[in-house]
Subunit: 145 residues, 2 copies
C-alpha cells in the first residue's frame, strides 16, 4: 500500500489540496496518518473516497448528507438497517430536487412569456417586463394561465 502525499491525492482525485484538508476538518475524511515531519499520508482508498464525494455532490447532496452516507458506508453496524437510511436520504434529496425543479419551471414560464412579450426596442416607458414587475398588468394569453 504505497503512501502518497496530499498533493498526489489532490491530482489523482481532482480535489484541491485545501479542500482535502477542509474535508478532513469537516469529518468527511478520517484524520490521515503522518510522517515524522507531520506530512499527511494517504493511500488509494482516499482517492476513492474523494471520488465518492464528488459524485454525491454532483447529485446535489450537501456535505452533511455526504458525511452521513460515508458514515453508513464505514460503519459495520449499519448492516441490518443501513440501506433504509441510505434510501431515505436519497428520497429526501429527490423530493428536494423535484421541488426546486417545480419552482424553477414556474419562473421559466413567466420569464419566457415576458421575454416574448417585450420587443426590446424603445424606451422603458411601457415595457411589459417592467410593467409586470410593477404589478400593473396581467397576462391575457390563454396558454399562460
Amino acid at each position: 500500500m504505497p503512501a502518497q502525499t496530499i498533493g498526489h491525492v489532490a491530482k489523482a482525485s481532482g480535489t484541491p489540496i485545501e479542500t482535502i484538508r477542509f474535508y478532513e476538518r469537516e469529518g468527511l475524511l478520517p484524520e490521515a496518518p503522518r510522517t515524522m515531519s507531520g506530512y499527511r499520508l494517504y493511500d488509494e482508498s482516499t482517492v476513492k473516497r474523494l471520488r465518492f464525494i464528488a459524485r454525491a455532490k454532483a447529485l446535489g447532496f450537501t456535505l452533511a448528507e455526504i458525511r452521513d452516507l460515508l458514515a453508513l458506508q464505514d460503519n459495520p453496524a449499519s448492516n441490518k438497517t443501513g440501506r433504509a437510511e441510505v434510501k431515505a436520504i436519497t428520497e429526501r434529496k429527490l423530493d428536494d430536487i423535484e421541488h426546486k425543479i417545480a419552482d424553477l419551471q414556474r419562473m421559466q414560464k413567466v420569464l419566457s412569456h415576458l421575454a416574448h412579450e417585450c420587443s426590446g426596442k424603445g424606451g422603458v416607458a411601457h415595457c411589459p417586463i417592467i410593467e409586470t414587475l410593477s404589478g400593473i398588468e396581467d397576462c391575457t394569453h390563454p396558454e399562460h394561465r
Copy 2:
C-alpha cells in the same frame, strides 16, 4: 402624499424593517428623507418599489439585477435604449434558469433510478446507491442511458 414611518411600510409591503434598511444601503431604495429627529419617511411609491423587488426576487433575479432593473425604470435617459437592456437581463435570467433546470433534471433522473433500485432493506453492503456513488457499477436499464 401622506408620509409613513418604516414600520408602516414594512407592514404594507411585507418586507421586514431591517431588510428595508438593508435595501437602502444596497442602493435598491433611494435614501429616504428624514424627520427632524432622524426617522425615515416614506410614501406609497416605496411600497410599490418593495413589491417590485419581491416580484423580481420570486422570478429569480438577484439583488444586483434588480438594482439594475430599478435603475432603468428610474432613469429618464433610458428611453431609446431601456427596453433592450431590460430584455437582455430577462433573457440572461431565463438562460440561467433553464440551465439550472437541466442540471436538476439530470440529478433527478439518477436519483429516481437509484431510489428505485434500492430495496431499502438490509445492510449497506451491496446497496446499489452506495455502489453507484463508489463508482462500482453502471446502469443496465436502457431507459437510463
